[in-house]
Amino acid sequence: MKRMIRPFLAAALAAAALFLTAPAGAAGPDVGECMDCHGDKTIEKTLPNGQTVSLHVDLQAYRSSVHGKDSCVTCHAGAKAPHEKLAMVDCGRCHGDSAKSYAMSSHGKARAKGATDVPGCSDCHGKHDIRAPKDPAARTFRLNIVGTCLQCHKDQALEQKYNLPGQQVMIAYQQSVHGLASSKGGLTGSAVCPDCHGNHTILPGDDPKSATFRQNIPTLCGKCHSGILEKYEASVHGKGMRAGIAESPVCTDCHGEHTISRVSDPNSPVFARNIPKTCSGCHDKEGISSRYALPKKRFSSYMDSFHGIAVEYGMTKAANCASCHGVHEILPASDPASSVNKANLPETCGKCHPKAGPNFAKGNVHVEVSPSKAMGVFAVRLFYTLFIGALAILFALHVGLDLYGRWNRRKENGPGGKEGQS
């Protein structure tokens, strides 16, 4: 009897073993078998150009990867042991959505054209050691992703080949408030490359579909800075932008993009001392003033005021544009809700000058010295100019006449004479 059963048992065991090791019913080798060769640290192949590539697979790293519970043939479909060159792994078989959006990105398009030096899945995610983005050891973890992007984006050869933004842009990001918050502060909430540029869908900023396209910027920044977005949307700038006016400023026009830094940073374009220059970048332009019927000479009239001079020389306590006009919530003076509406001026001035009452707010704040805008100041200045000029001429005439008289009398010796006096 025993003799009869043994072959059956053996067959059943073999079948069970086969079933357990290859549940999908594929006839490929199991991980252990693959590791027979690929566990060897010295295994390598030589490319046609003479370069050698290691074929070693770190089993430990693979086992702790997201795919660690799968088998080699899940990705390397159809692999036999031993095998020749395998087909490219197609991540899209499982990750269809990601593959689709990747295909529409700059990276995907370039790769579809045959470029091999633009990143595919594995360049960012890794190969056998892929980890979930939430895993601090992942290449795509929020605190590691910048380094991952910079693998290529710090390469000057690639920069030139694909006309990419220069090194200084990357360095600027690393020194920006966002870059420092993640690299130094360890904050995972700070913006890293894909937060603004997207991950699989990454596109250049001049593509209307890009997240960094000009018109999309407020929404983009608003993902994190939603309170500010709300204020901005209600402002004259925000409304203009939504109405499709391309000249209307978006976040990056005032704050910068990769260089973005704290308001308290003296290099920031929104640092108190730099605000007048930043605002006047648009508001001192003839075209913008006339297109949108804005009052002119706002910059020069401010810079000549006490506030302007004080700010220029570093007394940042003095009012800059934003102190009176607001920041994200800027509204035209004609709007009753505006901080520079005539009715609200006493309150606005009162922020710094509590005693400045409604009486003070009469008249123009920006003094543009012209007969129609500030007659009094214009007239006084004109009077003094003429008066000083006239007196100067009279003095010169008096002195000249004095010397003339002395010259004529140079031989006499009397008052105003040779040795005399006048």
């Binding site: 006490f306 509590p354 005693k355 009452g357 009486n359 707010a361 009469k362 003339y404 040795e419």
Partner: protein
């Protein structure tokens, strides 16, 4: 006047108190001009350099205000001294402007043009001194009032609309320009560059002038002193 002075032919023209007041005025007006014009012409590169030298726009303001307070104190002291003191009262009287000064001015013009034989005979102060004195006084009063308005801006804002302060600022600056550029140049000519005193009239330091100079330049004063037996 000591015997030694008389022997040397010297006459006191400025007493010590007046010299101190004058010296203060000189120093303070210079400080005020340097700090003030740096602000007025803040875009100019020289002004930038001066403001940096003064330790920034904040310290510039402090310097300007300290000098201003001293100048105003000097002015108030001078006013009281001229109105109330034994030395000041007759001095002030000699500064009064009269019909004579206009005549003197016109006569000096005619004289220099060769249309008059006589040069006007001045007392202690001729029209040039009087013009200088009253010009500077009115200027300093005007510049002090506007300066105080601008300094006490919280106070001013309560009572005046902004355009009044704008005007005060313009007057303050241009009055400074008028005072400094014109009166200063006028004064420099009269007391330094004028051939009769070149390189300078020493009285602002020593207080004294020569009796001979006084006789030629201010004959009425010379005769008065002689009459009083002081010469």
């Amino acid at each position: 006047m000591s015997r030694a002075d008389l022997a040397a032919g010297n006459v006191i023209r400025m007493s010590l108190l007046f010299r101190v007041q004058h010296l203060l005025l000189t120093v303070l007006l210079t400080v005020l001009a340097v700090t003030g014009f740096a602000l007025m012409y803040h875009e100019n590169s020289l002004a930038r350099w001066i403001i940096r030298l003064e330790g920034g726009v904040h310290n510039r303001g402090i310097t300007h205000r300290i000098a201003a307070v001293l100048l105003m104190a000097n002015l108030v002291y001078h006013a009281f001294y001229m109105l109330l003191s034994r030395e000041g009262k007759p001095e002030l009287r000699q500064f009064f402007i009269g019909r004579q000064d206009i005549d003197d001015f016109l006569q000096s013009l005619r004289y220099n043009l060769g249309m008059a034989k006589e040069y006007p005979r001045f007392g202690k102060y001729g029209y040039k001194e009087k013009f200088q004195y009253w010009g500077a006084s009115v200027g300093i009063v005007l510049i002090s009032v506007t300066g105080i308005m601008l300094w006490a801006e919280e106070f001013s804002m309560r009572f005046f609309p902004k355009f009044i302060l704008d005007l005060a600022l313009v007057i303050h600056g241009y009055q400074g320009l008028l005072g400094f550029v014109l009166l200063y140049l006028w004064h420099i000519y009269n007391v330094h560059l004028h051939p009769s005193v070149f390189p300078m009239n020493p009285s602002w330091i020593t207080g004294k002038v020569s009796a001979e100079w006084l006789r030629r330049e201010h004959p009425l004063e010379y005769e008065k002193l002689k009459e009083e037996g002081l010469l």
